[in-house]
């Protein structure tokens, strides 16, 4: 009561601004309420989406292993001009920090990082640690060189120098089959190490192929579903959805059983006399297409079906009654109305196919593995998270670029209208 009275007096003395203030306050309150309602979702998105992705992107350029475990060495060696040997201060700092790195798991981290520069670094560090005295009468330069002559090598110290800055472009370059040579220029890697450009191309080709096949198979089926009486179409729809309720692994394994040399498909074909010896249907590209199309087909059918359900058949009938050829009526009148469904279905299937990993790993050969296979390989098998993050980041960029192009190509108005 008192507060209302107070506002009334305030409004009385300054009528216009008082009302405005009230309005503003009411609006602010509304905004806060709205924000509070959205807050859990926003928080969830930040925690589950923005943070992991940014930390992953950071890992693709992260180079902090050596500078964290050996801060003094990292600072000192960056001042070195890269010719001859670094001065005694670097040697001394390195010896001291190498000794301390055994505690806290630091040694493992720098060992792994330095091994990317040179595969023999880990054993060099082991040998050096074993021979390292607590103090020395000689200089640390002489001491280290007496333990292993490789410390007398400019290349050894250049490798450490490359690992000293906080960021590196080596993982991103490696994901594009590029590297820096000794002079720091960007060059192609040796031909027998070139892999990822091809893998990216292959990923796009497989995802595009799967999307096209899904569209060609899914469109007629969705059309059938949309035009049949409800009771029949519901039954068919359940058949479409059934694979959703089966584990991906089970479905993939079932394809292997069906398609292998002694499998049902080959046995059936041989029984009918169409072929004399089993044909290779699995562990190659054919198997990948079979299994992926099967898994992804519902994602094409469902958006198509929902759009087609809303298309009135009278337009097409009108076109025919006005003299259009039935195909022309279908192509020029019906298909454009389903464009938003086609757009949604293709983009959904394409983007899901881009990230496919377990299906190609199980039913594909070594030349059918997609980018995410290598992401998983680097994450789980070799623990090289820099490479995994770089490949993932590039895949993300490629996907976003394609999505933007696609957005331009598909008529925006078509999407809005339906």
């Amino acid at each position: 009561m008192t507060s209302i009275a107070a506002t009334q007096t305030a409004a009385g003395t300054q009528p216009v601004t008082g009302l405005k203030a009230q309005l503003r306050r009411a609006e602010r309150l509304k905004k806060i309420k709205a924000m509070l309602l959205v807050a859990p979702l926003a928080l969830f998105l930040i925690i589950a989406f923005v943070l992991p992705i940014s930390s992953m992107l950071w890992r693709s350029i992260d180079n902090t292993e050596v500078s964290q475990v050996m801060p003094q060495t990292a600072t000192l060696i960056q001042q070195w001009d890269g010719s001859g040997l670094p001065d005694e201060a670097v040697f001394a700092a390195f010896a001291a920090e190498l000794r301390d790195s055994r505690s806290g798991g630091g040694l493992g981290r720098i060992g792994r990082r330095l091994n990317y520069e040179d595969p023999t670094f880990r054993s060099l560090l082991t040998r050096t640690l074993r021979g390292l005295p607590a103090s020395t009468e000689l200089s640390w330069t002489e001491e280290l060189i007496s333990i292993d002559p490789r410390w007398n090598d400019t290349a050894t110290w250049q490798a450490i120098q490359r690992t000293a800055p906080l960021t590196t472009d080596r993982y991103l370059l490696a994901s594009l089959d590029l590297e820096r040579n000794a002079e720091g220029q960007i060059v192609k890697v040796a031909e027998n190490q070139q892999l990822y450009i091809q893998v990216f191309k292959r990923t796009l080709i497989i995802a595009g192929g799967v999307t096209l096949i899904c569209l060609f198979l899914g469109f007629p089926l969705a059309y059938l579903l949309a035009t049949l009486p409800t009771s029949t179409s519901n039954l068919l729809l359940i058949c479409v959805l059934l694979p959703f309720w089966t584990s991906l692994l089970v479905r993939t394994a079932a394809w292997i059983v069906l398609l292998q040399s002694g499998g049902l498909v080959n046995a059936g074909l041989m029984w009918t006399g169409l072929i004399d010896s089993p044909i290779q249907l699995v562990f190659n590209r054919i198997g990948v297409f079979f299994a992926m199309v099967h898994v992804l087909l519902p994602f094409m059918i469902l958006p198509l079906y929902s759009v087609m359900k809303g298309v009135s058949p009278s337009y097409q009938r009108a076109a025919v009654s006005l003299g259009a050829h039935p195909f022309a009526a279908f192509w020029q009148v019906y298909v454009p109305q389903t464009l938003s469904g086609i757009a949604a279905g293709t983009i959904l299937v394409f983007i899901m196919a881009l990230g496919y990993y377990i299906t190609p790993a199980l039913v594909g050969g070594p030349s059918d593995q997609m980018v995410s296979y290598y992401v998983a390989y680097y994450t789980n098998t070799t623990n090289n998270w820099g490479m995994a993050a770089a490949l993932g980041a590039l895949l993300l960029i490629v996907t976003l670029l394609l999505y933007m192009v696609y957005h331009k190509l598909v008529n925006q108005k078509q999407l809005v209208r339906s």
């Binding site: 798991g105 060992g111 595969p119 054993s123 082991t126 091809q198 292959r202 499998g263 593995q369």
Partner: protein, 349 residues
């Protein structure tokens, strides 16, 4: 209900009390961690129970999935509750490098001469051996293949071959097929020419290879007739043989690897741990273990105590060890990534 609750309470108190006792009298206790499963069960019967009885101590068994981070966390916080841990060879190499395991004093342990050389490691003692071998379906081949050169011989043995999708094992086999002596394989593979040579040899066989990813695939393919020969893990083939399949193994040029016992750095029961390792490396206990699961004993004397049929399946039987080599883990830890990338680039062509 009330009675049940009371019983549960008593059990709980009893459990807590005995746990407390174990902690208090920890000089007479030992915690041994393995990978569990069938192998863990065999260890329980062959090693844990008899050792606890004989030494009069409390042995607390446990299992894990090879989570390296847990061991690291224990060592770093100084709160070491595990004493002896079963580790695979790449983890042993890494852990030894990072100082997570106690270096083994082999003179104190005193069993160096009883074990196969590969069981002896700076930071670990091998406990069993498994092997990657050449397996084939004896019903489908005119004669038994005798070497990896025969594996490459597609004229005499037509049909597909299974190999593991990856550089590890595959490159070693290719070099042996090209005539490199088993003992020289890693020396050759450490040179650029040796790697080129291995890939050139793989080029010859490429159209005939079906690559496997999981260990269960080779026996399945062999039985289904998809491939006539395959590289395979010996334990998987032994399991298929138990099921009555006529699968055979050629042991020449097989690659064996070990699981090791390692003592966690900072364990307060190092002496008991040594006793345990010594106990579990004896011929009779090793034979007890290997008779329950087809992993080979590291102590060759154990073979004599197995049945003839069991002994023939062990990677460490004399006849099977001939021409076999140990996987060089240090080599693969250092060069693995580079070679795997080259393998992937090669296989993509």
């Amino acid at each position: 209900m009330k009675l049940k609750n009371n019983t549960a309470k008593h059990l709980l108190t009893g459990g807590l009390l005995s746990a407390g006792l174990v902690l208090a009298g920890n000089a007479q206790a030992l915690t041994v961690i393995s990978f569990g499963g069938a192998s863990g069960d065999a260890m329980q019967e062959a090693y844990y129970t008899p050792f606890a009885q004989k030494a009069g101590i409390t042995l607390t068994p446990g299992d894990y999935n090879g989570e390296f981070a847990r061991i690291r966390a224990m060592v770093e916080t100084g709160n070491v509750s595990w004493d002896v841990v079963e580790v695979e060879s790449p983890e042993l190499a890494r852990g030894c490098f990072e100082g997570l395991f106690e270096p083994i004093d082999w003179e104190l342990l005193g069993i160096q001469d009883d074990l196969i050389p590969a069981a002896i490691h700076e930071c670990g003692v091998g406990t069993f051996v498994w092997s990657t071998v050449l397996a084939y379906d004896a019903d489908r081949l005119s004669r038994a293949p005798e070497s990896w050169a025969d594996f490459w011989n597609v004229e005499e043995f037509p049909g597909k071959r299974g190999l593991r999708r990856g550089a590890k094992y595959t490159l070693e086999f290719a070099l042996m097929a090209d005539g490199v002596a088993a003992d020289d394989v890693y020396d050759v593979l450490a040179t650029a020419e040796g790697v080129d040579r291995a890939f050139a040899k793989l080029d010859e066989l490429q159209p005939h290879i079906q690559w496997w990813e999981a260990g269960a695939q080779p026996p399945q393919w062999l039985v289904a007739g998809d491939v006539v020969m395959s590289s395979a893990y010996n334990g998987r083939i032994a399991a298929a043989q138990e099921e009555g399949r006529n699968l055979e193994i050629n042991w020449t040029g097989s690659l064996y690897d070990l699981d090791y016992w390692a003592i966690v750095q900072g364990s307060s029961h190092v002496e008991t741990a040594y006793d345990f390792i010594r106990f579990s490396s004896q011929p009779d206990t090793q034979a007890q273990y290997s008779s329950r699961i087809p992993y080979g004993p590291v102590n060759p004397a154990a073979i004599a105590e197995l049945s003839e049929k069991q002994a023939a399946r062990m990677p460490t039987a004399d006849a099977n060890l001939e021409g076999a080599i140990a996987v060089n883990t240090d080599f693969w830890v250092d060069y693995g990534e580079e070679l795997e990338q080259r393998f992937n680039a090669w296989a993509s062509q």
